[in-house]
Symmetry: C2
Subunit: 352 residues, 2 copies
C-alpha cells in the first residue's frame, strides 16, 4: 500500500508526442489562448493519453506572477485577539511560500468607521488578487464587497461575516452556539437563580456590537433552561481598572448571593484582579477566547471555563483555502466553515 507524491510525465513528453513545442503545451494547459483549435485538441488528447499533470513546484518556480492578498482586519496591540488572527495569516503565508504570495495588511480602528473606509480605499487601489477580511461595520462592508465584486476580486471572511454577500468562503465559529455553550458550562448541575453578566462600556462612536450574537446565544440558553434566573448586567470600563474594581466590589457586596459570572466578550481577564483579591470558592466564572491573559486567569483558577476555538486556525485555513482557489483554481469544498469550539479548563490546559 503506497502513495507516491511525484509524477514523471513532463511537459516535454507531451510536446514531443504531440509534435509541438513546450510553449504550446503550456498555452493549452493554462488556456492562455493564441493556439489554434486544431492544436488544442491534439495536445489535449495527448495529455489525456499520457495522464500528464503539471509539476506545481516547477510551475511556481518559473512563474513570475505575484499574488497579493489583502488582509483587512482590526488593528491590535500585543496579546489582543486580532494578533492571533494575524499570526494565523502569517503561518498560512509561510505554508504556501514558494508561491509568490504577498500579504498586504490593512488594519483599521474598530471604533472608527473613517479608518475602515480609508483601508478599503487603499485595498481597491492596489488591485489585489483577493481580500480576506472580517465584518464590523456591516453597511460599509456590504458596499466594499460590492465594489470588489464589480472588480471581480474574490473575497473571504474570517471570524465573522455578512451572510447576504457572495463571499468565497468563511472560517469561524457559530457565535450563537458558543454563547449557549458558555451558558451551559456556567450552569450545569447547578440550580441557578442569579447570574452576573459583565459587559464592556463602549464609547458612543461604537455603534457596532460584535459580541451580540454570542450574548444572545448565552441569554437564550439561560432563559430556556432557567426561566426564573435573574440576569444582573454590569458594565465595566475596559480602560479603567480602578473603576472596574469598584463596580464589581459594590455589586457583589450588595449581592453576595450571585455566584455565577459570565463575560461574553473576549476580555474576562479584566475582572481577574477583582476575583483574585476577593476569593470565593463557590464562585463560577466563564469567559470566552484564549487570550494569554485569559489563560492565565484560567490557570490560576479564577476562571473555571473558557469557551474558545483555535483562533489562528481560522485565519490560517481561510487564507490557505482562499489561495488554493486563487492560485490553483481549487474550489473550496464548503462555503461556511465552522470551526470546533474548544472547552478549556484548568485541567486540560497543559498541552494546549
Amino acid at each position: 500500500m503506497s502513495k507516491r507524491s511525484s509524477d514523471q510525465i513532463t511537459i516535454f513528453d507531451v510536446a514531443k508526442r504531440a509534435k509541438v513545442s513546450r510553449g504550446t503545451v503550456d498555452r493549452v494547459v493554462y488556456k492562455r489562448g493564441r493556439v489554434s483549435q486544431n492544436t488544442i485538441e491534439k495536445v489535449q488528447k495527448v495529455i489525456a493519453e499520457l495522464g500528464y499533470t503539471p509539476n506545481q513546484n516547477a510551475s511556481s518556480l518559473a512563474s513570475k506572477r505575484e499574488y497579493t492578498i489583502a488582509c483587512l482586519i482590526p488593528q491590535f496591540r500585543e496579546g489582543e485577539y486580532w494578533e492571533k488572527i494575524y499570526e494565523g495569516f502569517i503561518k498560512g503565508a509561510r505554508a504556501i511560500s514558494g508561491y509568490n504570495l504577498r500579504l498586504e495588511f490593512e488594519l483599521y480602528d474598530q471604533t472608527d468607521l473613517e479608518s475602515y473606509l480609508r483601508c478599503c480605499e487603499r485595498i481597491l487601489e492596489m488591485h489585489p488578487s483577493g481580500v480576506v477580511m472580517n465584518a464590523v461595520f456591516k453597511e460599509a462592508v456590504i458596499q466594499f464587497a460590492q465594489r470588489l465584486e464589480s472588480l471581480n476580486i474574490p473575497y473571504a471572511f474570517v471570524d465573522n461575516k455578512v451572510d447576504e454577500l457572495n463571499y468565497l468562503l468563511y472560517y469561524g465559529v457559530d457565535p450563537y452556539k458558543s454563547g449557549a455553550l458558555g451558558a451551559f458550562l456556567l450552569t450545569t448541575r447547578c440550580d441557578v437563580k442569579d447570574i452576573a453578566l459583565i459587559r464592556l462600556i463602549r464609547d458612543s462612536k461604537h455603534k457596532a456590537d460584535p459580541n451580540a450574537p454570542r450574548r444572545h446565544g448565552f441569554l437564550d440558553y439561560i432563559e430556556e433552561n432557567y426561566p426564573h434566573c435573574k440576569i444582573h448586567t454590569l458594565f465595566i470600563s475596559p480602560e479603567d481598572a480602578q473603576s472596574t474594581y469598584q463596580t464589581l466590589k459594590e455589586f457583589f457586596t450588595a449581592h453576595p448571593e450571585v455566584r455565577h459570572i459570565a463575560m461574553t466578550n473576549s476580555r474576562v481577564f479584566l475582572i481577574d484582579d477583582y476575583l483574585r483579591r476577593n476569593p470565593d470558592p463557590n464562585r463560577i466564572v466563564v469567559g470566552f477566547d484564549d487570550l494569554d491573559r485569559n489563560l492565565a486567569s484560567l490557570r490560576e483558577g479564577h476562571v473555571e471555563y473558557l469557551v474558545t476555538r483555535h483562533i489562528p486556525m481560522q485565519s490560517y485555513l481561510a487564507l490557505t483555502s482562499f489561495t488554493d482557489y486563487i492560485i490553483k483554481g481549487i474550489t473550496p469544498p464548503r462555503h461556511n466553515n465552522y470551526v470546533h469550539m474548544d472547552i478549556l479548563h484548568r485541567r486540560n490546559l497543559d498541552d494546549y
Copy 2:
C-alpha cells in the same frame, strides 16, 4: 503594512555575501558536512542576517532524493480509530509535498501477532528512511525497534509507545492526565458517593492492558478528591451485547443510587443500548475517544462528556516533525509530545 512571503533572498545572495559558492551554502543549510567549521559559522551568520529561507519549490524540483517513510499501524475499517490516524498521515504528507516523500503503509491485524511480524519484515526489506508506528505487541515492538536501530533507521511512535526505547519522538496524549480529566468531568459540582467503573473482559491472549494508565489517572483523582466514594467495578464483554445488557441491568437494579458511570477504555458505546433503554435524567456518563459510535451516544445525550484528542493531529504532527528531522535534520524540540485533550459535549460537537 506588508509582509512578503516569497523572500527574494536566494542562496545566491547568501553565497555572495558570505564570499563562498552556492554549493557551500547548500551544504551548510542542509548540514551535508564537508564544510569547515569556520565557513559554517560564517554562512550561518549571513543566513541569519539576511533572513534567508530556502525555496521549497526549487529545492524539491532540483532534488532527486526520495524519502520513504513506513507507517506501521493497525488495519482498520471505515469509521474506526486508525482510519483517523491514517488520514493524519495523508494530510501530513501533503503538507510536505514538494519533497519527494513516499509513504508506505503496512497495516497489521491487531489480534494477530503473525501479521504484525510480517509487516515488520516487509518494512525492513524496503529500507525506509524512517518508520512511524504504534505499539501493540510490546515484545515484538521492542525487537523490531532494535533491528531498526541496528540498521540506523530512526523511528517514532504515535498514539502509544514503549517508554524504554530510543524512539525519536512521540505524539499522543498523556493517558494518566486524561483519566483524571474524565474523573473531574464526571464528578464536578456533585457530591459523589458511588461510581460505576465499567471495564472490558479481555480474552487470555490479550495480556496487555493498554488502558491501565488512564484508569489509574481516573482512580487517583477520585481517591484524592472523594476519599469516601465507592468504586463499583463491572466487567462486560465487548462481544456479547446481550450479556452486557444483563450485567448492567442487574447491577443498577440492585444499586439504583449509583448515578455516575465511567468507562476508561474507548468503547463507551457498548453500554449505549442499556442507557437508551433505561433512561435516567440524573445519570452522568463519561467516556473516552471520539469513535463515531461514541459520538453518536454523546449526540443522543446518553453520554455527557467524552474526553478525547484530535486523533489525526497526532499522526500529522508525528509525521511532519519526523520528516523535518529526516529531510532537514531539524531535531524535534521534544521527545514526548503530548497533544491537547479535548472535552467533548453534546453542545460543542457540531463542528468537530
